[in-house]
Amino acid sequence: MMIVAEVMILLGALVLLISSYGTFKFQDVYNRLHAASISTSGGALLLGGGLSILGSLVHGKLFLKPLLIILIIFLTSPVSSHVVAQAAYRTGVPLVAHTVQDDLALAFLEW
Protein backbone atom coordinates (compact mmCIF):
# COMPACT_ATOMS: atom_id res chain seq x y z
CA MET A 1 0.00 0.00 0.00
CA MET A 2 2.88 2.32 0.85
CA ILE A 3 4.35 1.89 -2.59
CA VAL A 4 1.09 2.98 -4.25
CA ALA A 5 1.12 6.20 -2.29
CA GLU A 6 4.73 6.92 -3.10
CA VAL A 7 4.17 6.19 -6.77
CA MET A 8 1.21 8.57 -6.76
CA ILE A 9 3.37 11.26 -5.19
CA LEU A 10 6.10 10.70 -7.77
CA LEU A 11 3.56 10.86 -10.60
CA GLY A 12 2.16 14.03 -9.12
CA ALA A 13 5.66 15.52 -9.03
CA LEU A 14 6.20 14.54 -12.65
CA VAL A 15 2.94 16.23 -13.68
CA LEU A 16 4.11 19.39 -11.94
CA LEU A 17 7.40 19.19 -13.79
CA ILE A 18 5.62 18.75 -17.12
CA SER A 19 3.39 21.76 -16.50
CA SER A 20 6.32 23.96 -15.52
CA TYR A 21 8.18 22.81 -18.61
CA GLY A 22 5.00 23.38 -20.61
CA THR A 23 5.03 27.08 -19.80
CA PHE A 24 8.26 27.33 -21.76
CA LYS A 25 6.91 25.59 -24.82
CA PHE A 26 4.01 27.98 -25.44
CA GLN A 27 4.50 31.46 -26.89
CA ASP A 28 1.82 33.61 -25.29
CA VAL A 29 0.39 34.01 -21.84
CA TYR A 30 -2.95 32.45 -22.56
CA ASN A 31 -1.52 29.10 -23.69
CA ARG A 32 0.97 29.12 -20.87
CA LEU A 33 -1.93 29.47 -18.45
CA HIS A 34 -3.32 26.22 -19.86
CA ALA A 35 -0.01 24.54 -19.11
CA ALA A 36 0.19 25.98 -15.63
CA SER A 37 -3.33 24.93 -14.70
CA ILE A 38 -2.47 21.26 -15.29
CA SER A 39 -0.38 21.34 -12.17
CA THR A 40 -3.12 22.89 -10.07
CA SER A 41 -5.65 20.28 -11.18
CA GLY A 42 -4.15 16.88 -12.01
CA GLY A 43 -0.84 17.37 -10.25
CA ALA A 44 -2.43 18.58 -7.02
CA LEU A 45 -4.92 15.73 -7.01
CA LEU A 46 -2.31 13.05 -7.50
CA LEU A 47 0.18 14.50 -5.13
CA GLY A 48 -2.37 15.44 -2.48
CA GLY A 49 -4.01 12.02 -2.63
CA GLY A 50 -0.66 10.26 -2.33
CA LEU A 51 0.33 12.45 0.58
CA SER A 52 -2.85 11.85 2.51
CA ILE A 53 -2.65 8.10 1.97
CA LEU A 54 1.00 8.04 2.98
CA GLY A 55 0.27 10.26 5.94
CA SER A 56 -2.56 8.12 7.22
CA LEU A 57 -0.40 5.02 6.78
CA VAL A 58 2.50 6.58 8.62
CA HIS A 59 0.42 8.06 11.44
CA GLY A 60 -1.95 5.15 11.68
CA LYS A 61 -4.98 7.38 11.85
CA LEU A 62 -6.67 9.18 8.97
CA PHE A 63 -4.62 12.16 7.79
CA LEU A 64 -6.84 14.48 5.76
CA LYS A 65 -4.95 17.73 5.79
CA PRO A 66 -3.56 17.31 2.25
CA LEU A 67 -7.13 16.90 1.06
CA LEU A 68 -7.97 20.24 2.60
CA ILE A 69 -5.09 21.72 0.65
CA ILE A 70 -6.44 20.20 -2.52
CA LEU A 71 -9.82 21.72 -1.76
CA ILE A 72 -8.29 25.15 -1.40
CA ILE A 73 -6.32 24.77 -4.57
CA PHE A 74 -9.35 23.63 -6.51
CA LEU A 75 -11.24 26.60 -5.16
CA THR A 76 -8.67 29.24 -5.90
CA SER A 77 -6.54 28.30 -8.89
CA PRO A 78 -9.18 28.50 -11.63
CA VAL A 79 -10.06 31.97 -10.46
CA SER A 80 -6.47 33.13 -10.34
CA SER A 81 -5.82 31.82 -13.87
CA HIS A 82 -9.00 33.58 -15.00
CA VAL A 83 -7.97 36.83 -13.40
CA VAL A 84 -4.47 36.66 -14.81
CA ALA A 85 -5.80 35.97 -18.29
CA GLN A 86 -8.30 38.80 -18.02
CA ALA A 87 -5.65 41.23 -16.82
CA ALA A 88 -3.34 40.15 -19.61
CA TYR A 89 -6.03 40.71 -22.19
CA ARG A 90 -7.00 44.04 -20.69
CA THR A 91 -3.45 45.30 -20.74
CA GLY A 92 -3.28 44.30 -24.38
CA VAL A 93 -0.96 41.33 -24.31
CA PRO A 94 -0.88 40.22 -27.99
CA LEU A 95 -2.23 36.81 -28.89
CA VAL A 96 0.21 34.50 -30.57
CA ALA A 97 0.59 35.04 -34.33
CA HIS A 98 -1.32 32.08 -35.72
CA THR A 99 -4.49 32.46 -33.58
CA VAL A 100 -7.53 31.51 -35.63
CA GLN A 101 -10.33 33.20 -33.75
CA ASP A 102 -10.62 35.69 -30.86
CA ASP A 103 -14.07 35.45 -29.24
CA LEU A 104 -13.29 37.78 -26.41
CA ALA A 105 -12.69 40.72 -28.78
CA LEU A 106 -16.44 40.94 -29.47
CA ALA A 107 -17.44 40.78 -25.81
CA PHE A 108 -14.63 43.18 -24.99
CA LEU A 109 -16.30 45.98 -26.95
CA GLU A 110 -19.46 46.26 -24.86
CA TRP A 111 -17.59 46.96 -21.64
Binding site: I72, L75, T76, V79, H82, V83, A107, W111
Partner: protein, 137 residues
Amino acid sequence: MDAFIPRMIARLATPLILALALYLFLRGHHEPGGGFIAGLVAASALVLQAVVGGRSAGAKYIPVPGWVLIGLGLFCAAGTGLIGLVLGQPFLTHYFGTVLLGGVEVELTTAQLFDLGVFLVVVGTTQSVILNISGDR
Protein backbone atom coordinates in the same frame (compact mmCIF):
# COMPACT_ATOMS: atom_id res chain seq x y z
CA MET B 1 -17.94 41.88 -16.00
CA ASP B 2 -15.12 43.71 -14.41
CA ALA B 3 -14.11 41.93 -11.19
CA PHE B 4 -17.25 39.87 -10.73
CA ILE B 5 -15.77 36.40 -10.56
CA PRO B 6 -12.91 37.19 -8.19
CA ARG B 7 -15.37 39.04 -5.97
CA MET B 8 -17.60 36.00 -5.74
CA ILE B 9 -14.70 33.72 -4.95
CA ALA B 10 -13.31 36.21 -2.49
CA ARG B 11 -16.59 36.18 -0.63
CA LEU B 12 -16.16 32.45 -0.28
CA ALA B 13 -12.40 32.41 0.38
CA THR B 14 -12.29 35.15 2.98
CA PRO B 15 -14.15 33.30 5.73
CA LEU B 16 -11.97 30.30 4.99
CA ILE B 17 -8.79 32.33 5.43
CA LEU B 18 -10.15 33.92 8.57
CA ALA B 19 -10.93 30.48 9.97
CA LEU B 20 -7.36 29.51 9.13
CA ALA B 21 -6.13 32.58 10.98
CA LEU B 22 -8.23 31.71 14.02
CA TYR B 23 -6.92 28.13 13.93
CA LEU B 24 -3.36 29.39 13.82
CA PHE B 25 -4.05 31.83 16.62
CA LEU B 26 -5.65 29.41 19.01
CA ARG B 27 -2.96 26.79 18.86
CA GLY B 28 -0.16 29.32 18.87
CA HIS B 29 1.09 28.29 22.26
CA HIS B 30 1.96 24.72 21.41
CA GLU B 31 2.38 24.33 17.69
CA PRO B 32 3.67 26.91 15.23
CA GLY B 33 1.25 29.82 15.01
CA GLY B 34 0.70 32.69 17.36
CA GLY B 35 -0.65 36.22 17.28
CA PHE B 36 1.67 37.66 14.71
CA ILE B 37 1.25 35.02 12.01
CA ALA B 38 -2.48 34.72 12.59
CA GLY B 39 -2.70 38.51 12.37
CA LEU B 40 -0.95 38.51 9.04
CA VAL B 41 -3.12 35.75 7.67
CA ALA B 42 -6.24 37.60 8.77
CA ALA B 43 -4.73 40.74 7.24
CA SER B 44 -4.29 38.96 3.93
CA ALA B 45 -7.97 38.01 4.01
CA LEU B 46 -8.68 41.69 4.50
CA VAL B 47 -6.33 42.55 1.66
CA LEU B 48 -8.19 40.17 -0.57
CA GLN B 49 -11.45 41.94 0.18
CA ALA B 50 -9.90 45.35 -0.37
CA VAL B 51 -8.27 44.27 -3.63
CA VAL B 52 -11.24 42.53 -5.09
CA GLY B 53 -14.14 44.43 -3.76
CA GLY B 54 -12.52 47.80 -4.06
CA ARG B 55 -12.31 50.16 -1.13
CA SER B 56 -15.79 49.84 0.31
CA ALA B 57 -15.76 46.04 0.59
CA GLY B 58 -12.53 46.03 2.55
CA ALA B 59 -13.92 48.54 4.99
CA LYS B 60 -17.33 46.88 5.15
CA TYR B 61 -15.78 43.62 6.10
CA ILE B 62 -14.30 44.95 9.29
CA PRO B 63 -16.48 47.95 10.12
CA VAL B 64 -14.04 49.27 12.69
CA PRO B 65 -11.36 51.64 11.34
CA GLY B 66 -7.79 50.48 11.67
CA TRP B 67 -6.60 52.53 14.59
CA VAL B 68 -9.43 51.42 16.83
CA LEU B 69 -8.14 47.90 16.39
CA ILE B 70 -4.63 49.05 17.13
CA GLY B 71 -5.80 50.81 20.26
CA LEU B 72 -7.72 47.76 21.36
CA GLY B 73 -4.74 45.53 20.72
CA LEU B 74 -2.33 47.70 22.68
CA PHE B 75 -4.85 47.91 25.50
CA CYS B 76 -5.17 44.14 25.54
CA ALA B 77 -1.44 43.57 25.59
CA ALA B 78 -0.67 46.19 28.22
CA GLY B 79 -3.76 45.18 30.20
CA THR B 80 -2.61 41.62 30.63
CA GLY B 81 0.69 43.01 31.79
CA LEU B 82 -1.08 45.03 34.44
CA ILE B 83 -2.83 41.95 35.81
CA GLY B 84 0.56 40.69 36.93
CA LEU B 85 1.32 44.06 38.46
CA VAL B 86 -1.96 44.13 40.33
CA LEU B 87 -1.25 40.76 41.92
CA GLY B 88 2.08 42.03 43.22
CA GLN B 89 4.16 40.22 40.59
CA PRO B 90 6.42 42.15 38.28
CA PHE B 91 4.81 43.61 35.14
CA LEU B 92 3.79 41.15 32.43
CA THR B 93 3.86 37.93 34.46
CA HIS B 94 1.51 35.39 32.90
CA TYR B 95 -0.73 32.86 34.53
CA PHE B 96 -1.96 29.64 33.01
CA GLY B 97 -4.16 26.85 34.15
CA THR B 98 -6.51 24.28 32.82
CA VAL B 99 -10.19 25.14 32.85
CA LEU B 100 -13.11 22.81 32.28
CA LEU B 101 -15.04 24.38 29.41
CA GLY B 102 -18.14 22.43 28.58
CA GLY B 103 -16.63 19.15 29.64
CA VAL B 104 -13.54 19.67 27.54
CA GLU B 105 -10.41 20.42 29.46
CA VAL B 106 -9.16 23.62 27.90
CA GLU B 107 -5.87 25.19 28.82
CA LEU B 108 -6.27 28.93 29.18
CA THR B 109 -3.39 31.33 29.66
CA THR B 110 -3.14 35.11 29.92
CA ALA B 111 -0.39 34.87 27.35
CA GLN B 112 -3.21 34.13 24.93
CA LEU B 113 -4.71 37.53 25.77
CA PHE B 114 -1.38 39.18 25.13
CA ASP B 115 -1.25 37.30 21.85
CA LEU B 116 -4.71 38.60 21.05
CA GLY B 117 -3.31 42.08 21.56
CA VAL B 118 -0.54 41.37 19.06
CA PHE B 119 -3.12 39.92 16.66
CA LEU B 120 -5.34 42.97 16.84
CA VAL B 121 -2.46 45.39 16.35
CA VAL B 122 -1.25 43.53 13.27
CA VAL B 123 -4.69 43.41 11.72
CA GLY B 124 -5.34 47.02 12.68
CA THR B 125 -2.09 48.16 11.13
CA THR B 126 -2.75 46.38 7.87
CA GLN B 127 -6.32 47.61 7.85
CA SER B 128 -5.36 51.25 8.31
CA VAL B 129 -2.46 51.01 5.88
CA ILE B 130 -4.51 49.32 3.16
CA LEU B 131 -7.64 51.39 3.50
CA ASN B 132 -5.43 54.39 3.58
CA ILE B 133 -3.45 53.57 0.51
CA SER B 134 -6.50 52.50 -1.40
CA GLY B 135 -7.86 55.90 -0.55
CA ASP B 136 -10.57 55.17 1.95
CA ARG B 137 -10.70 56.54 5.50
